[in-house]
């Protein structure tokens, strides 16, 4: 293993740990948008796909890369749009100066 590879393992472990800490704080309220969001973010495979499709690695690699770009880009575009669409639906109760609306926080924690 090279030094770079060791550092890559560090990056992986630390990022996984960050992910664990952040995700455990996401309330069940937003678990579906969370899945849609991670789905969109997994479109990051695009980065690898683009290099494969555009580098001169031969025709087979170009075709594989092209299909991969299409798949990953579909996830990116569709994933971020649908996450945004869902999150746009989550609204607080309108604070009409009603008599007994002190319920407040609730699922919003």
């Amino acid at each position: 293993m090279t030094a770079t590879q060791i550092i890559q393992l560090y990056v992986f472990i630390l990022a996984g740990f960050v992910g664990f800490l952040v995700i455990t704080k996401v309330p069940p309220l937003l678990h579906t948008p969370l899945m849609a969001a991670t789905n969109a973010i997994s479109g990051i495979s695009l980065v690898g796909s683009i290099v494969l499709a555009g580098g001169q690695y031969g025709q087979v690699a170009t075709i594989l890369g092209f299909i991969a770009v299409v798949c990953a880009m579909t996830n990116v575009v569709g994933g971020f749009i649908i996450t945004d669409r869902m999150l746009g639906m989550f609204k607080r109760a309108e604070t009409k100066s009603g008599p007994t609306d002190t319920t407040g926080a609730g699922g919003a924690k």
């Binding site: 579906t32 991670t38 973010i41 997994s42 994933g79 971020f80 926080a105």
Partner: protein, 496 residues
Amino acid sequence: MSFLLLIAGLPTAAAAAYLLATSPTGASLDAIGGRELVVQLTYLASSVLFILGLRSLTKPDEARRGMQLAALGMVFAIVGTLLNSEILTYSWIVGGLVLGTVLGYPLGKFVPMTAMPQRIAFSHMFGALAATLVGVGEYYHGIQVPEATGIERFKMAAIGFEVLFGALTVTGSFMAFGKLQEFITGKPITYPGQNIFNLSLFAAAFGCFVWLIFNPENTAVFYAMLAIGFAIGILMVMPIGGADMPVVVSLLNSYAGLAASATGFAINNDVLIIAGALDGASGFILSIIMSKAMNRSFGNVIFGAFGSATTASGKTSEGLVAKSISAEDAAVQLAYAGRVVFVPGYGMAVAQAQHQVRELAELIEKNGGEVKYAIHPVAGRMPGHMNVLLAEANVPYDKMYDMEEINDQFAETDVAVVIGANDVVNPAAKNDESSPIYGMPILNVYEARSIIVLKRGMNPGFAGIENELFFDEKTNMLFGDAKSSLTKLVSEVKTL
């Protein structure tokens, strides 16, 4: 407080590690040149934006903006990659990006919220396919072209992992998609010796994986492993019932992330490693939460073939009579109630009755009552699905309560209205050790002062278990289709 600091500190630590890791491939520590520096800085920016985006999901008010930042992060990553000096021709890339946009737009814009679980499963398939193809391409480039320079062990391990996990996620997600969309039977498909067969396939795949690390040039073994990966995905999901799909979809989410991470190791790209690790963690946590809420162990979901179980033991309803109630009487009860909790189940979503529920809730509030929604983790077909369905019907999110938040409040609830939910409110989970759902966390609806259950008929729930809640003397059954019952309730309350 220190915990908060820890959370703030970790991304910084990860970022620092990232900076260290951005030395050019080949582990030399020379300074990075201009273009490469720009590329790496865009990747750094997008990694940070992804983390901030996911973190924004902890606060519903900030979530939308945060995810827009994450989308910006993705734009950075794409732009950064396009600057990569290895890229010589752009025609295929641009074609792919355009086609992907054309396909992705309708998948984001027009898919109904009820179809969200299959939509997510479907796109896991796409994500995993991209990772798999990149892996195959890397392998092909490293081994099979005439000028190939071979692949060293660490990289081969990364590619092997990527291709194996990618392949089984592709077909597994397709199966999950099929079961949720119901063009593949939702019933578990089982045959004798299934688990042993599946496990030996796993063993074979693992064998290929190890073999390849030491003999990367053995192309037959590589493609055999790819094929086995595809087969495992199909065979693994086949025996899992439709109702268990939330766990499967979450787990595949995790696998898709891990495959992306492995891609990052294979092509020396840190933003892939980071984003993949985030996704992997997310899917893993969600699948654990879901299996807990279903009272199942992880292993039991994967190897158990639950839905086929004919263990409808537990108490029977013989000699018990459920009281039924008319819509008029139920309306009176609701109209003058002080505290009302709605308990929606998947039946409500199937009947598309969310809007009627919200309308009824607004009427009760107008009369001075207080309305809350109690949401069990498995109320929908995927984690958090019910919340989205209610939000779509304009139910404010601060009135939706998780199981833990609301369970203590049922005792002070005047009327609990159960709509199309069954097993998640079955007290047998608490007090009947012989029941198959014993130990499953439930909503404590039975503690409410009175209960109205909207139900089509007296059929037992999905797990095939009688629900003694329906025979409780505090319970009144309002029979009929959820949507028309609710419509009737709304018009009755209006006339009061």
